[in-house]
Symmetry: none
Subunit: 219 residues, 4 copies
DNA sequence: CATGAATGAGATTTCATTCAT
DNA sequence: AATGAATGAAATCTCATTCAT
C-alpha cells in the first residue's frame, strides 16, 4: 500500500512539474507559439510524456486556468461573506486576492482577457472558455454587489454598479499586463505591489462621495 | 504623366487595401494564427501579391503598428504643446487621442502591451519592437511631464509622476482589452466611450488634491 | 482565356496524377499503412502538394472510391435497362462490368467489402461509407430484380432472389481478392478473366432449372 | 510438484487470455489500428505483461493465425483420408470444416486472403506469411486432389482441378467477408450458414456432369 | 504586376517497446 | 511475475515563402 501511495504521489508530482513548466512557457510564448517540445524541455521530460498526462495542448492549457480561477473564486467568496469587514476593506481584500492569484498565474489573466483569441481556440477549449466565463461572472457579481451596497449607503458616487466593477477590474488587469510589458523591456526591482495599492487608493478616492464611511458591518 | 501618377496612386491604394485587411485578420486571429492566405482573401488579392508589397509576414505586421503609433505620437504632441489648454483638459485630450487611435487599431495596443510575446517574434520584428518602445516612451514622457506639472502646481497629489502615468495608461489599456473580451462574450450596444469617460473622471477625482484647479495656462 | 483553360487542365491532370498514385499505394498497403509520403513519392510530388488537392488522407481515400463506384452504377444501369438482352446475357454483362471496374480499381472492392475496418474510420470516411452503401444497394437491387425475373420465368431455381445476389456478388469478390493474394505470392500470367468466366458458367449451370432459357426479351 | 504444475497451467491460461483478447481486437480494428494497449485492456492485463508472453506485436499476431490454421489442416486431413466418404460428401465436409474454423477465427481468413497487406509487414510476419502459405497450399492440394478424382470419375466437368479449387475457395471466402460487411451495415439474424450451404449446393450442381454420382468410396 | 501552385520545414499526436520497481 | 510510466520514432497536417507564367 505504501508503494501504491508513492506511485500516486509521484504521478501528482510529475503532473505538477508539467503544469509548472507549461505555465512558464505559455506565459512567455502564448498558446499558439508555445510548442509541446518547449514545455517538455522546460519540464525535463519527453514530448510523449506530456501527452501521457494531458490529452492535448488545449487540454493542458485548460487545466492551468481552471485550477487557479477556482482558487480565486474561493478567496473572493470568503471576503465577500466576511461580515466583519467594511465595504472599503472588502474592496482592498479583493484587490489582494486578485494580486495573489494573478502574480501566481499570469496566464489566467491573459485568458480571462481573451488575449489568446477566440478564433484560435479549438472545440475543447471553448468548453474551457465557458467555464472560465462562468467563474469570472461569479466573481464580478460579488464585486458588483459590494459596490451596489456602497452606493446605497451613499458612500460611493451614484453610478451603475457594473461601471465600478469594469473600472476596477480593468485597472487591475491593465496594471498587471503593463507591468509585464515593462519588465519585459527593462527587468528591474518590483514596485508593482505599491503601484497597485496606490492605484486602488486613487480609485477609491475617486468613487467616494466624501460622506462619512461605514464604520460598521457591510451586511 | 497622368499615367505615372495613376500607377503610384494605385500602388498606394493596393498597399492600403492590404494593411486594412491585415489589421482585421491580425485582430481576430493574432499574429501566429493569422495566415497570409487569410489576409490575401480578406484583401481580395492573391497570396503572392502580398509578398510583392511586404517582404514577409513580420514586416507586414510591423508596418501596421508603426503607422498608427506615429499618428498617435503626432496627436499627443499637438495637445502637449497646446498652451491654451489646462492640465486637466490636456489629460482629457490625451484620453481622446488614445481612444481614437486604439479603437481604430486595437492590434497596436496588443503590441504595446506585449500581448503577442517577445519570444515569438523574429529578428526583424525585434527591431520593430524597439521602435515601438521608443515611440511609446516618447508618449509616456509627455504624459509624465503634464502630471509632474500638476503635482508641482499642487492640484494633484504629491506622488511620483510615473505612477500617475502607469495608472492612466493601464486603466485605459485595461478598459480597451476588457471591452474586447466582454463583447466577445456578449456583443451588445457599445457603452465603451462613456465607460472610458467615467473612468477618467474617477481617476481625476482620485488624484486631485481639492485645491482650486488651474484656470489658466499649463505652460 | 487559353491560359486559364490550360491552368484548369493542368490542375485536373495533377489531381489525376495524385489519384492514380494513391490508388496504387492504397491497394498495396491499405488505408492505415499507406502514408501520404508514400503517395507523394509515387506521384512524384511533395507531401504538401497532396494536401493542396485533398483536405486529408481520408478525403483522398474517399474520392477514389466514389468516382469508380458511380461509374459501375452507370454501367450496370445501362445493361439493366437494355431490353434486347436475355436474362442470362444480362448476368454475363453484369459480370463484365464488375470485371472492368474492379480490375481498374481494386481498392473500391476492398471498401465495399469492409476490408478496412469500421473502427479505424473517421467521421469523414463514415460519410463516405454511407455513400458507398447506397450505391452498392442500388447495384444489388438491380441484380436482384434480374434474378427475380429469372425465377418467375422458371429458368432459375425457386430461391430467394437475394440469395442469388449474395452468391454471385461474393463469388466475384472472393475471386478478385483471392486472385490478388495468389499473385502477391506468385506473380504470373493472368488467367483471372478465364477463371472468372468459368466461375460464372458454373454458377449459371448451378442455378438453372434446365427449362428452356428465355430466347426473347427480359423485360 | 503441484505448485510447479499450477504455475504452468496458470501461465498457459494467461497466454490463452491474451490470445483471445488479441483475436477480438485484431478482428475489430485490424493489425495496424489495434494497439497493444487495446489488447491489454481487453485481456485485463498490463501492457508490459503482453510483452512478457509475446516478443512483440507481430509475433502475437502470428501465433493467433498459425494455431487456427494448423487446426484446419488437421480437420481437412481427417476428411481427406476418410475412405468411407464419397467425393461429394468430402466437399461438404470440407465446407463445414472451413465454416467452423473461420467463424471461430475470422482474422485468419483475412490473412490468407492478404487483407492485411504485404508491404505493411515486418520481417517476422513475412516468415509467418510463408508458414501460412505453406499450410494453405497443403489444404488446397487436398482439395485439388478430390476434385481431380471427381473429374477422372466423370462426375465433374472436365476442367483443371485448380479451377474448381479456386472457385470453391473464393466463393467461401467471398461469402464470409461479404457476410461480415453486410452485418456491419445491418446486424440481423444470422442466415449465413444456410446461405453457405445453398451456395455449395449450387456450386456442386454447376460442376457436376449429371452422370450418376459415385455411391462408393472416393479412394 | 499579379498570381496560383508547389514545397520544405516544423508542429502536433500516436504507439510499440523498454525500464524500474 | 506483473506493471505503470517514459519515450523515440514516425505519421499527419499546416503554412510562410518561392517560382513560373
Amino acid at each position: 500500500m505504501g508503494i501504491k501511495e508513492r506511485r500516486i504521489r509521484e504521478k501528482e508530482m510529475r503532473q505538477q512539474q508539467i503544469v509548472t513548466a507549461a505555465k512558464q512557457v505559455f506565459l512567455h510564448k502564448g498558446l499558439k507559439s508555445a510548442t509541446i517540445e518547449d514545455i517538455a524541455i522546460e519540464a525535463e521530460l519527453g514530448v510523449a510524456t506530456i501527452y501521457a498526462y494531458f490529452k492535448n495542448k488545449d487540454e493542458l492549457y485548460a487545466s492551468l486556468n481552471l485550477i487557479t480561477l477556482e482558487y480565486l473564486v474561493d478567496q473572493v467568496e470568503i471576503v465577500y461573506h466576511n461580515d466583519s469587514l467594511s465595504i472599503e476593506q472588502k474592496i482592498i481584500k479583493f484587490k489582494d486576492a486578485m494580486y495573489n492569484t494573478f502574480r501566481f498565474d499570469p496566464v489566467l489573466l491573459r485568458n480571462i482577457f481573451r488575449v489568446e483569441l477566440e478564433e484560435t481556440l479549438t472545440a475543447l477549449s471553448r468548453e474551457l472558455l465557458e467555464q472560465i466565463n462562468q467563474l469570472t461572472r461569479k466573481i464580478l457579481t460579488m464585486f458588483a454587489n459590494i459596490f451596489d451596497e456602497g452606493v446605497k449607503q451613499g458612500i460611493f458616487l451614484p453610478r451603475h454598479k457594473m461601471l465600478f466593477v469594469d473600472i476596477m477590474w480593468s485597472t487591475f488587469a491593465g496594471l498587471v499586463i503593463w507591468e509585464g510589458a515593462k519588465t519585459a523591456i527593462n527587468p528591474k526591482k518590483d514596485f508593482f505591489k505599491s503601484s497597485l495599492d496606490e492605484a486602488f487608493d486613487i480609485f477609491l478616492r475617486g468613487i467616494k462621495t466624501g460622506k462619512a464611511t461605514d464604520k460598521g458591518k457591510s451586511k
